[in-house]
C-alpha cells in the first residue's frame, strides 16, 4: 500500500468531482463539506465515469443511468446500481491529495 499523488486540493470544488488517473487506475475525488473522498471512477453498473456525474449531499449520481453511490462508504444507494463502488483512503499533505493504492 502506497500513497500516490492524485490532485492539488485547490483543483477540487464542491460542484463537480475531479477525475484522476493514477497508474492506470481511474479515481474520482469529491469535496463534500470540506472533506475529500475518493472512489473508483467507473460505475459498477455500466461503463461511465462518475466524475461526469452529479454530486449532491455526499452522493454521486452516475451520468448514464442515475445509479447513486455514497462517496464516503461506496454503498450503492439506488438502482440500477447494486454493487458498491470501491473507495480509497486519502491523506492531505501540503495541499496535495494523496490516495492510498
Amino acid at each position: 500500500m502506497t500513497l500516490k499523488f492524485a490532485a492539488n486540493l485547490d483543483d477540487l470544488n464542491a460542484d463537480q468531482p475531479y477525475a484522476a488517473t493514477i497508474e492506470n487506475e481511474q479515481i474520482a475525488l469529491y469535496l463534500v463539506d470540506g472533506e475529500v473522498y475518493a472512489t473508483h471512477n467507473v460505475c459498477t453498473h455500466q461503463f461511465a465515469l462518475l466524475s461526469d456525474g452529479f454530486l449532491e449531499d455526499g452522493c454521486i449520481e452516475c451520468p448514464l443511468h442515475q445509479g447513486k453511490f455514497d462517496v464516503k462508504t461506496g454503498a450503492a444507494l439506488c438502482a440500477p446500481a447494486t454493487a458498491p463502488i470501491k473507495t480509497y483512503k486519502i491523506q492531505i499533505e501540503k495541499g496535495a491529495v494523496m490516495v492510498e493504492l
Binding site: 461511465a48 461526469d52 456525474g53 452529479f54 449520481e61 451520468p63 448514464l64 443511468h65 442515475q66 438502482a79
Partner: protein
C-alpha cells in the same frame, strides 16, 4: 397471514416484491411470471445481449442475485395466472394450481406489437423478452442483412447493435421523421445522420405492403411496388399492454389497466404498475402509460407502499434514455405541447444539452453524453421554475448554480 400476489415477474413485479419486504411486510409474497427467468431489466436486450462476443457473458441484467428470492422469502414461480376472481380473491394458474390472496398487484407489462398481415415466419423477429433477444443474437451470427420495421428507440438501438456486428441494416419507418413525437425535429435529424454515418440505410415514409418468405430470407414489397430481399426482419413497432387478464376479471381497462394516482385499479385491493398501467398524469390528470425503465421501477415501488397502507401519489417526471453507438441520449419531461424557445448548450457534436422552454420554464430537455448536466436541471423541470433564458444559454454560468439560485 396476509398474502400479496404479484402477477408479472418483470422489472416492475420484481421491484415491487423487493419494496414490500423493504417496507417491512412480513406476510406471504407470491411473484408469478410467465417467463422462465427470474426478474430482469430489459434495456440490455437490444444492446449488450446482441453485441457481446462471448455467449456466456452476454446477459447480466438480473434485477436481483439468484438467491434473493429465497433469502427474502419471496415465492417466485414461473407460472402464469389464467383466471383471477376479484370477488373471492383467488387466482388460478396455467398449471392448475390455485391460490387465495388478500391484495394483488398486476405488473404484466406489454408484448411486442405484431405487424398486421405478416404471417409467422422463422425469419421475422421481435424483441421483448430475453428469449427473443437470444434468438436474434443467434440469427445475427450468420446473417448478412436485416431490415428493421419501425424507427423508434428499440428499432434504432437494434440497428446500432446490428451495425456493431457488421451486418447491413435497413430501417423502414412509416413516418417522414424518426421519433417525431419524442424528439425535437433538429435532434431527430442529427440522430438519423449518426446512424447514416454508421452505415444504416433509412427508408422513411415507406409503407410495407407484403412480405413473403423465401428459403433463406424474406422478400418485402413496399408501396410504389419496390421489392427487396433481406436475411431477416426485426419488427419494432411498439408494444401493446397485457391487459386481457385484468379486463376478463372485471377491472377497468383501455390502453392498459386503469389505476388512480395511488396505483389502485377500479377494484379496491387490486393495483397495477409498469408498462401495463394507465394512470392520471400531471396536473391535467390525462391518462397515459409510460413504457420506460424508470416507470417500471418507480411506479412499482409507489404501488407497493400504497398496498401497505401508506398513501403515496405517483407523480413522475418522465425520464428516458437510449444508448446508440457511443451516444447516451437522455430525455427529461415530455414533448407534448408547444415549445416557444430552444436553447442548446453544446460542447461538441457528441456532447450537448438541448432545452425546450415554454413561458420561460424548461418543459423538456435532451442530453447527449451529458447526463450530469441534465440531472443538474431536473428540479427546474419538475417544478416548472421560471428561468432566465439568457443565463441558461450562457456557457459561463453553471447550470447547478442556476438551479440553486432559483430555489434559494
Amino acid at each position: 397471514m396476509e398474502t400479496i400476489l404479484i402477477i408479472g415477474a418483470g422489472q416492475a413485479g420484481g421491484r415491487a416484491a423487493e419494496a414490500l419486504r423493504a417496507q417491512g411486510f412480513d406476510g406471504s409474497i407470491v411473484l408469478a411470471g410467465d417467463e422462465q427467468h427470474r426478474p430482469y431489466e430489459r434495456p440490455a436486450l437490444s444492446k449488450t445481449v446482441l453485441t457481446a462476443i462471448d455467449d456466456n457473458d452476454c446477459f447480466n441484467a438480473w434485477l436481483h442475485s439468484s438467491d434473493f428470492y429465497e433469502t427474502s422469502n419471496i415465492d417466485w414461480i414461473a407460472d402464469s395466472v389464467e383466471r383471477l376472481d376479484v370477488t373471492h380473491r383467488t387466482a388460478t394458474f396455467r398449471s392448475g394450481r390455485s391460490i387465495g390472496f388478500d391484495k394483488c398487484l398486476i405488473t404484466t407489462g406489454g408484448r411486442a406489437r405484431r405487424l398486421p398481415g405478416t404471417p409467422d415466419s422463422r425469419h421475422v423477429f421481435t424483441l421483448r423478452t430475453l428469449q427473443d433477444a437470444m434468438r436474434v443474437r443467434e440469427r445475427l451470427a450468420d446473417a448478412r442483412s436485416v431490415v428493421v420495421i419501425g424507427g423508434g428507440f428499440l428499432g434504432l438501438e437494434f440497428a446500432a447493435s446490428a451495425r456493431a456486428r457488421g451486418i447491413d441494416v435497413t430501417v423502414v419507418e412509416a413516418a417522414e421523421q424518426l421519433l417525431g413525437r419524442a424528439l425535437p425535429r433538429e435532434f431527430s435529424d442529427r440522430l438519423r445522420a449518426k446512424h447514416e454515418q454508421n452505415g444504416v440505410r433509412f427508408m422513411l415514409g415507406a409503407k410495407l405492403i407484403l412480405s413473403t418468405e423465401e428459403a433463406c430470407g424474406v422478400n418485402l414489397t413496399f408501396e410504389g411496388n419496390t421489392s427487396e430481399r433481406f436475411d431477416f426482419v426485426v419488427v419494432a413497432i411498439g408494444q401493446e399492454p397485457n391487459e386481457a387478464l385484468a379486463r376478463a376479471s372485471g377491472l377497468e381497462t383501455g390502453n392498459g389497466i386503469h389505476v388512480d394516482a395511488h396505483c389502485q385499479t377500479s377494484v379496491a385491493g387490486f393495483y397495477a404498475a409498469g408498462d401495463c398501467a394507465n394512470f392520471p398524469f400531471g396536473t391535467s390528470g390525462r391518462r397515459l402509460r409510460l413504457e420506460s425503465w424508470q416507470n417500471a421501477q418507480d411506479q412499482a415501488i409507489v404501488a407497493a407502499r400504497n398496498m401497505l397502507g401508506e398513501p403515496v401519489e405517483y407523480r413522475p417526471s418522465p425520464w428516458f434514455w437510449t444508448d446508440q453507438y457511443d451516444w447516451n441520449v437522455q430525455m427529461l419531461g415530455m414533448l407534448d405541447g408547444p415549445v416557444d424557445q430552444w436553447i442548446e448548450r453544446r460542447t461538441s457534436i457528441d456532447k450537448t444539452l438541448l432545452m425546450g422552454l415554454r413561458d420561460n420554464a424548461i418543459v423538456y430537455a435532451l442530453a447527449v453524453n451529458n447526463g450530469g448536466e441534465l440531472r443538474a436541471i431536473r428540479r427546474l423541470v419538475e417544478q416548472a421554475t421560471q428561468v432566465d433564458p439568457e443565463a441558461l444559454a450562457d456557457p459561463n454560468i453553471k447550470l447547478r448554480h442556476l438551479e440553486r439560485h432559483a430555489h434559494s
